[in-house]
Symmetry: C2
Subunit: 401 residues, 2 copies
Amino acid sequence: MRDFSDATRRLADLIVGFGANVQPGQIVAVTTSTGKEKLTREITRSAYEHGARWVDVQTYDPWVKRQRIALAPEDSLEFVPPWQLVRLEWLSAEGAARITLSGPSAPEALEGLDPTRAGRDVMPYLPNSGDVMNRRTTNWCVAPGPTVGWATAVYPELDPDTALERLWDAMIHICRLETDDPAGAWLERFASLTATAARLQERNFDAIHLHGPGTNLTVGLFRSSLWNAAGFTRADGLKHFPNIPSEEMFTTPDPARVDGYVSTTMPKELYGSIIDGVRLEFAQGRVTKVEADRGADALRAVIAKDEGASRLGELALVDGEGRIGPLETVFFDTLIDENAASHIALGTAYGFMVGDETERARANKSAVHVDLMVGSAALDVDGITEAGEHVPVLRNGGWQI
Amino acid sequence: MRDFSDATRRLADLIVGFGANVQPGQIVAVTTSTGKEKLTREITRSAYEHGARWVDVQTYDPWVKRQRIALAPEDSLEFVPPWQLVRLEWLSAEGAARITLSGPSAPEALEGLDPTRAGRDVMPYLPNSGDVMNRRTTNWCVAPGPTVGWATAVYPELDPDTALERLWDAMIHICRLETDDPAGAWLERFASLTATAARLQERNFDAIHLHGPGTNLTVGLFRSSLWNAAGFTRADGLKHFPNIPSEEMFTTPDPARVDGYVSTTMPKELYGSIIDGVRLEFAQGRVTKVEADRGADALRAVIAKDEGASRLGELALVDGEGRIGPLETVFFDTLIDENAASHIALGTAYGFMVGDETERARANKSAVHVDLMVGSAALDVDGITEAGEHVPVLRNGGWQI
């Protein structure tokens, strides 16, 4: 097994110094899982080196979650301890930095569980997570934390050590850690994404039309929907980059104006279940039919969670220029996979990405946010103008605008 | 490396079903450390099997703590996140069960740090920990969680695998897990301890006198000080056994009436520092002089924490009949070592172990509770009656009453 101490250190420094952009005197919350201890410790080190006042680490263990899903009383599965909400409100009030390590640390831990029970425990996502994000009070970053369990799920044909080496190599490539200056490499890529987002914004499309194999979906936008890429800005002006890696540009759709059908192009891990070959039908914004080759019940359970879970909260476009898509690998981690292909998300919207206050009030709200990858080179993306004109936006992974 | 899955499971069941005595419908808080994942998962399993509604696991990582002690701003080291206090108050209000795994999971993590900085971070002990305990609202249990790091500190001459096997064997013996019915074995031992405590109670001594090599200390008791062993009873009557193992009987002294000098008989880990060969002088209850062969600064830093940290909150007597003392091993874990030998504790008292309300208000209060082992076969323990008569209590480890 090769030594990834240096990569671990570089990734931690990128997450802390560039992604979350930790400031002197800040509280820094870290959400991590068992198996990611080394990266968590390096993040803690880097955060204190950047002047953090307190690094508040929370560790989730999927094997502990397994016991809950398998054994806890039926009526307790949606329970969230109230101190978790208090803690998140405190982080918001303190203007804290928040770092989350993604990637399923031990996917095998949730195998064979009842998917409808599993789908009812969505922690570490909290009922106030979307609300706090929309207040833009915290500078946050989600980034991958490789583990042997995750690696084995991605490369089942390899022995565990080789699989972990392969996953680390992929993460080093995807996160641009091999360069002398990863933050500089990201700034360059982000400048290009931001320029494209600005061109999309200029067009002010009334809707986006996705069409390709198994997909013919029209996603209505608000007049004041904003296109964003790469960076977020806190309400007080502090810049941060919420996802490392990020190859997408995204907007907040009108949850009442989504019609047609859409098919996913990649499998996905959903609260312990794998869902694959999903086909959704929409009418007037609402999901009216859910089919899937695998995991339909798990997805249906999540969609039934609340009204907003059956409507769209995000539309994101991904070109063919990123580093993830060309690997043609399913990472079973939304952070990575959603940056391989254009996607939609059911559930909570980025409300602040709607400029007009009245329209913003109509942005989708939910206790969940579920990204579904629907893009591929074969997916054509058009913008539809107010006048009804169809304008090519993406063809074969290349921008047409 | 032998497989300790069965011992892990049996220990978890003893902690949950007997020690904490988890009831159907309860919230169960678990405080654990990295390296104790297997036992933590078995405890979670057992808690849900006993009907727990939610198992709230908090994991501490000594390597994360190391970064704080090494790097955090000087004025931040005593900071405790407010949600921790909220969480503990919630556990109290809910009448939760609380389980803590003891034993330093990786003692090497805190090596070489500045002891005065290390002594300022006493988490997971919280400012309201003593208060919540004294309310008797929660049923709790502290029990050992063996790790390879801990094992290596206890048996430095052995290779890590052998050391861990040796530590597990010691814990199996000490926790009476080798019997068919560990809970039954404990009930038998506890019945004997409780009978002795009742005899001590009957004498209603005015003070206890400890005298032996390096020790000549008189510890005054309240008129209404209660002697207890083995079991606690919640305010609502639920019985639990706060320590597995437990070989001690203990009382709450008068913090204003402690005079003389006392020497420790075992080294101790104190917030990452080893303290050994401690000699304390007391006058009118207060520590007036601190000397130590090792770690004097660390101990002085803790004693300076608040007024109560320089006064006694506990006096405990341990006979020679227990299973820990005969092993003649220093475990560097207070839970185990304090049950090998008679001890005193600086800091927070068990207020509820003073019967009279006016006297109870005078029981010691502090943000810390530091046990110091002072007993040995060579320590004579006498009770002093109101009339000034000295009555032998312990001689050569055997009860004289």
